[in-house]
């Protein structure tokens, strides 16, 4: 493990024990966030991207459980830490922001109190110093009238401001890793652009590594250095971001890219990947995507393909390679001509 990586997840498996059997929300996922980089996890709802993040934070609630794997953070395995040690890391070295800025702040405390609290837990500072740092971080995340805003309650702020508060709260201890779980999904596009720009700015200024979870390929293109595409708890494709968009290989990723509506093309019907995400309790024997994949053959239905490198640092979990790409490209042509 090199020190250049802030986070290195190795063969992580997080399982939910349900009445109908064990359900692997995260299945043998390996992922690396190099220092100072923004790494994206993309996928549909229920693909395990949030559960991967919650596993890193070790906030998986029963009946969920991390059953195997390693989560190396700055070289140390978080899974061997005691709950108390994890508490000291959470919010200090690793912090997290969530999808819903509207409901992610406690309605009965002022935002100033909540931001200062994040700092107070980890650093014992006098009250004036806490307040000074809170004002400083509010200014850094672009909250106007920072000092006055400390006394505001969450319901008095707009969604964009609340997400800025959340980011401020997450960044106040200058963490090494920021996990952002769909941070802009609930915001409108202009605010989304501002929040994304803010995260990039904070990364550039503090060298914070960011694990960005999203289902939005546009956000990936704008933000990420490296991307992991997840499906049904597994990584299906991983590549450096330009490589991925230029040389998409996995039929699932191709489908995702094809699903983005384009303003300069007139179509009758927007493209969607046929079928639905399989029930994690009843996954097909072979590749978990086989039931929705137009290129699937007998082998796909019987054997789960391993991740294999098809270009430098570009891995896919698929038997077919270039054929899939060619056909996917052909298909998108068809859509364009339609």
């Amino acid at each position: 493990m090199s020190k250049a990586n802030t986070l290195e997840i190795q063969h992580l498996r997080t399982v939910f024990h349900t009445r109908h059997g064990d359900l692997a929300a995260v299945n043998d996922v390996s992922l690396t966030v190099p220092k100072g980089k923004i790494v994206g996890i993309v996928g549909e709802s229920g693909c395990g991207k949030s559960m991967t993040a919650m596993s890193v934070m070790q906030l998986i609630r029963k009946p969920g459980e991390i059953v195997s794997g390693k989560i190396l953070f700055n070289g140390e395995d978080l899974l061997t830490k005691t709950p108390r040690e994890m508490q000291a890391i959470r919010g200090d070295r690793i912090s997290m922001i969530f999808q819903e800025p509207m409901t992610s702040l406690n309605p009965v405390y002022t935002v100033g109190h909540q931001v200062e609290e994040a700092l107070r837990i980890h650093e014992h500072l006098p009250k004036e110093e806490l307040q000074r740092r809170a004002i400083e971080i509010f200014e850094a995340v672009g909250i106007p009238e920072a000092k006055e805003r400390l006394a505001s309650y969450p319901h008095q702020l707009s969604g964009g401001l609340r997400q800025r508060v959340m980011i401020g709260m997450a960044m106040i201890c200058k963490p090494d890793l920021l996990i952002a779980d769909e941070p802009t999904t609930a915001l409108d596009v202009t605010i989304e652009a501002q929040i994304l720009a803010l995260m990039k700015k904070l990364r550039d200024e503090n060298g914070t590594s960011i694990l960005l979870i999203t289902h939005n390929m546009g956000v990936v293109a704008k933000m990420c250095d490296f991307v992991y595409v997840m499906y049904a708890g597994r990584v299906m494709e991983q590549a450096e971001v330009f490589e991925l968009f230029r040389n998409v290989q996995h039929p699932y990723t191709a489908g995702l890219l094809q699903s983005i509506p384009r303003i300069d093309h007139v179509v009758d019907r927007l493209y969607a990947i046929p079928g639905v995400v399989p029930n994690l309790l009843h996954l097909p024997d072979g590749c978990s995507f086989c039931t929705r994949c137009r290129y699937a053959d007998d082998r796909c239905f019987s054997t789960m393909p391993e991740l294999k490198e098809i270009a430098p640092e570009h891995l896919i979990r698929c038997f077919s390679t270039n054929s899939a790409l060619a056909q996917a490209a052909e298909q998108s042509e068809e859509v364009q001509h339609a």
Binding site: M57, L59, Q87, A88, I89, R90, G91, D92, S95, M96, F98, E100, T103, S104, L105, N106, P107, V108, E117, A118, I121, H122, Y153, H155, M166, M169
Partner: protein, 306 residues
């Protein structure tokens, strides 16, 4: 904030007047002259008439009501027919007993109910949870008079730890406070548990965990305050009803409080005393709700602004 409280107090006034009117009408539609009922069968009619006139019962009902209302405005609840003492002084004598019992019972209820609710929520579906919820179900469902008698038998008669009844020493309040407090504690514990479980699912609780707070910090600082609102309503209603006199408990334990006073008034058809106790308890309940409303605003900034 002050303006809000003043408004809220002003709104209570018509409620109070309405309640007084209803009570007065209800008690006066009961047929029969209360003096006649109280006197022996062969009392002379001129004596009955004279006593009725003394209490103003010979006047038309609407005039009696206006006189009563006028006296009430001057803080005078009238004179008891049976005891020939002012209702004010009777209530003043009885209230300290009820107050002591209410405070003791409320303390038992909160000190047991709230921690039991919190623990049950944290240890949801474990033995601890089942045990606490079982006890609270028992407290809620046991009839008070039955529990009182069983407790008296075991702890006073058999074990001799506390007096059977009366209100002479502080020890006499232990049993009635436990009997009353247990049943309120049951309600409080169940309400605390269910609200806390609901709040623990909220997004801001996840945020609190992600900040690196301890379990105690998450639950006591972030979840409890949000779960408290409905519990406070219940606490205010319970205290108000405890202060209005626990009729059965006071009777079983022979505590001369407001509840006993009301029971005696009903038995003796002592209308001024009954009206007095009912109006007094109405004021307490209105005040209880008022305090709950104010506490809401103190806790939740969103309510404060409305």
């Amino acid at each position: 904030m002050t303006k809000k409280i003043v408004n809220r107090v002003l709104v209570s006034i018509p409620v109070l007047i309405g309640v007084i009117l209803i009570i007065y009408v209800m008690l006066n539609v009961i047929p029969g002259n209360p003096i006649e009922v109280m006197m022996a069968e062969h009392a002379r009619q001129d004596v009955i008439d004279r006593i009725s006139a003394y209490y103003g019962l010979d006047k038309p009902v609407w005039e009696q009501f206006l006189i009563y209302l006028n006296n009430l405005l001057h803080g005078d609840l009238g004179v008891s027919y049976k005891l020939n003492r002012s209702v004010n002084s009777l209530i003043a004598d009885a209230f300290p007993y009820t107050l002591k019992l209410a405070i003791a019972a409320a303390l038992v209820s909160w000190i047991i109910g709230i921690p039991a609710g919190i623990l049950s929520a944290i240890r949801e579906n474990t033995i601890v949870d089942r045990l606490f919820m079982g006890f609270s179900l028992l407290g809620v469902s046991m009839p008070v008079f039955w529990a009182a008698l069983i407790f008296q038998y075991i702890f006073a008669y058999r074990l001799g730890w506390v007096p059977v009844s009366g209100a002479e020493t502080w020890q006499s309040y232990i049993l009635p406070a436990i009997v009353l407090g247990w049943s309120s504690a049951g309600t409080i514990a169940r309400l605390t548990r269910s609200n806390l479980l609901e709040v623990l699912e909220e997004d801001y609780i996840r945020t609190a965990w992600a900040k690196g707070l301890s379990q105690a910090g998450v639950i006591l600082h972030h979840a409890f305050k949000n779960a408290l609102l409905p519990v406070i309503t219940m606490m205010a209603i319970q205290v108000a009803s405890l202060l209005s006199g626990a009729v059965i408990t006071e009777t079983v334990f022979a505590i001369p409080g407001i509840g006993r006073l009301a029971v005696d008034a009903i038995t003796n058809r002592d209308m001024p005393l009954l009206q007095g106790t009912v109006i007094f308890t109405t004021i307490l309940i209105i005040a209880g709700n008022l305090i709950a409303d104010i506490l809401y605003s103190v806790i939740d900034p969103r309510i404060r602004e409305k």
